[in-house]
C-alpha cells in the first residue's frame, strides 16, 4: 500500500515538474538551453573586407589625433654678476685714516676666477705739517680721494660657516690684484691695487664681504717722489643676479 502511494506521489511530482519546465531552476535540467548567439559580427567583418576588396582601396587604419608637443626648454637663470657697495676706512698716506665708501661690480667667470671693478671715495685730512704750521697744502676739493680699479680675483679655501645647528652658510677667501687710477691732490695717478677678502653668503644671492686692499701709486705731492701706500679695510654687501 505504502509503495503504491509513493509511486503515485512520485508520478504526480514528475508530471508537475514537466509542467513547470519554464522555471529558471529547472531549465537546464530538461535541456531548455538558450540558443547559441548569432555570428553576426564575423559576418559583418567578412562583408566589409569583401566591399573593400571590391573598391580597390586599402583597409582603413586608425589615424592618430595626438598633436606633437613642442617642448620649450626654460632658460636657466644665471647668477654670474655681483653688484654691491661697501663702507670702511682708508688710510691715505700722510693725510690720515678716513671713512671710505664705494661700489663694486663683479663678473664670475668660473668658480675660481672673477673680474671685479671698484669705485670709491674718501676725504683726506691734514698732514702733521699742516696741523702744526696752519699752512694749507691742498684745497678742500683736492682732498677728495677718488679711485677706481679693475682686478682679477681668485677664490680659495671654500668652506661653510655654521650658525647654531640648523643654519650653514657657504664662505670663501679670495685674493685680488689689479690696476686703476686715483684722483687726489689735484692729480690723477696710475694705481696698482692688491688685497684679500673673506665672503660669507647667507643666501645664494647675497654676500657679506670683509676685505683689505692696498692702493699704491707714485706721488710727489710732498716734494719728494715716493710710492704711497694707502691701506683700505671695508665691509661690503653684494647681490648676485
Amino acid at each position: 500500500m505504502e509503495i503504491r502511494l509513493r509511486i503515485l506521489l512520485l508520478t504526480l511530482l514528475l508530471g508537475l515538474a514537466g509542467g513547470l519546465s519554464g522555471c529558471a531552476t529547472l531549465r537546464h535540467l530538461f535541456g531548455h538551453d538558450t540558443p547559441p548567439p548569432a555570428t553576426a559580427p564575423a559576418d559583418e567583418g567578412a562583408s566589409t573586407d569583401r566591399s573593400a576588396a571590391d573598391d580597390g582601396t586599402p583597409p582603413r587604419v586608425i589615424e592618430p589625433e595626438v598633436e606633437r608637443r613642442n617642448v620649450k626648454v626654460p632658460r636657466i637663470k644665471s647668477q654670474d654678476i655681483e653688484v654691491g657697495g661697501y663702507l670702511g676706512t682708508l688710510n691715505i698716506e700722510d693725510f690720515g685714516a678716513h671713512r671710505v665708501y664705494g661700489v663694486q661690480v663683479g663678473y664670475h667667470i668660473t668658480e675660481d676666477f672673477f673680474l671685479q671693478a671698484e669705485g670709491g671715495r674718501s676725504k683726506g685730512g691734514y698732514t702733521s705739517f699742516e696741523t702744526l704750521s696752519s699752512i694749507q697744502l691742498l684745497t678742500d676739493n683736492e682732498r677728495w680721494f677718488k679711485y677706481y680699479d679693475m682686478s682679477v680675483g681668485y677664490n680659495f679655501l671654500p668652506g661653510e660657516v655654521f650658525l647654531g645647528r640648523n643654519h650653514a652658510m657657504t664662505s670663501s677667501f679670495y685674493i685680488l690684484a689689479g690696476v686703476g687710477a686715483t684722483d687726489f691732490g689735484g692729480d690723477s695717478k696710475f694705481t696698482g691695487n692688491f688685497g684679500a677678502g673673506y665672503k660669507v653668503l647667507p643666501t645664494d644671492w647675497l654676500a657679506v664681504h670683509v676685505a683689505v686692499e692696498d692702493r699704491v701709486f707714485n706721488t710727489d705731492l710732498l716734494g719728494v717722489n715716493k710710492l704711497a701706500s694707502n691701506l683700505e679695510a671695508h665691509l661690503g654687501l653684494t647681490v648676485f643676479f
Binding site: 626648454v73 654670474d80 690723477s188 696710475f190
Partner: protein, 229 residues
C-alpha cells in the same frame, strides 16, 4: 605646479647625481639624487647648477655631472663650458688690459667685441692713460681681422677710429684740455688658455688729428686677459 613648469626638469641617468652644499668642487657632497629621478634646475652660477631633487632637497651639481642627465624628450642636457671650437667661433668677447702704455703714459683699458664671422669682429675699447706730461681718456671703435681663428695662437690686425681727450699737466703754462679725433692701425696676438679664457696682446699706432701744425703720432702697447661667451 606653476613653480615646476618654470624650471627646467632633467632626469638623472648616471647611478646618482651628487649634490654639493655650495657652487664649487671644494664644498662637500651632502646628498645624492638617485638614477631616473627628476630634478628641477633652479639656477646657474659659473659652471654649477642649483637643483631641487624629488624630496625637495636643494643642492649644487657641477656642469660635468649635469651632462649625465637627460631632458624630458630624451636628449642630453648640455652646458657649454668653452673649448677650442667655441674659441674659434663665438659671438661676443670682452677683456681688460692690465698692462698698457699709451705714448709713455700708463694706461688701463677695457674692450668688447661682436663677431660677424670667426675672422671679423667689430671692437669698442675705452681706456684711461696717466702720464707725467698728461692724463686723458680714449675711445676706439674699429674692426679686427683674425687670421687662423682655429689656432691656439692667432694673429690679428686692426683698423679704426677714435676720440682722445688729453689733459696736459704743465705747471708753468696752463694749456687747455683738448678732445681730438684719431685713427689707428694695429696688430696683435691672441693665445687661448682654457675654457673661455685667452690672453691678448696688441700694438696700435694712433694718429691724432690736432689743430696744430702737425698731427700727433702715439704708440700704444697693451696686454690683457679676455674671455668669450
Amino acid at each position: 605646479m606653476r613653480a615646476a613648469s618654470q624650471n627646467l626638469q632633467v632626469f638623472v641617468r648616471a647611478p646618482y647625481l651628487e649634490l654639493h652644499t655650495g657652487p664649487g668642487r671644494g664644498y662637500p657632497v651632502f646628498n645624492v639624487v638617485d638614477r631616473d629621478a627628476a630634478v628641477d634646475v633652479l639656477k646657474r652660477y659659473t659652471d654649477w647648477f642649483k637643483v631641487r631633487g624629488p624630496s625637495g632637497i636643494e643642492g649644487w651639481a657641477s656642469a660635468h655631472d649635469m651632462e649625465q642627465t637627460v631632458l624630458a624628450d630624451g636628449s642630453h642636457f648640455h652646458y657649454d663650458v668653452g673649448d677650442m671650437n667655441a674659441y674659434t667661433a663665438h659671438r661676443f668677447e670682452a677683456g681688460a688690459f692690465f698692462y698698457g702704455d699709451f705714448g709713455g703714459a700708463s694706461a688701463v683699458s677695457l674692450y668688447g667685441a661682436v663677431f660677424a664671422n670667426p675672422n671679423l669682429a667689430a671692437e669698442l675699447s675705452i681706456g684711461e692713460f696717466l702720464g707725467k706730461a698728461s692724463d686723458g681718456n680714449s675711445i676706439d671703435l674699429g674692426l679686427a681681422h683674425i687670421f687662423y681663428p682655429q689656432a691656439r695662437l692667432a694673429p690679428f690686425v686692426m683698423l679704426g677710429t677714435g676720440i682722445v681727450h688729453t689733459e696736459p699737466k704743465a705747471t708753468l703754462v696752463q694749456p687747455s684740455d683738448r678732445t681730438e679725433q684719431s685713427a689707428y692701425v694695429g696688430g696683435g696676438l691672441r693665445y687661448y688658455l682654457t675654457r673661455r679664457f685667452f690672453l691678448r696682446g696688441e700694438y696700435k699706432e694712433h694718429i691724432i688729428f690736432t689743430n696744430r701744425n702737425q698731427n700727433q703720432q702715439v704708440d700704444e702697447w697693451k696686454f690683457g686677459f679676455a674671455f668669450f661667451f
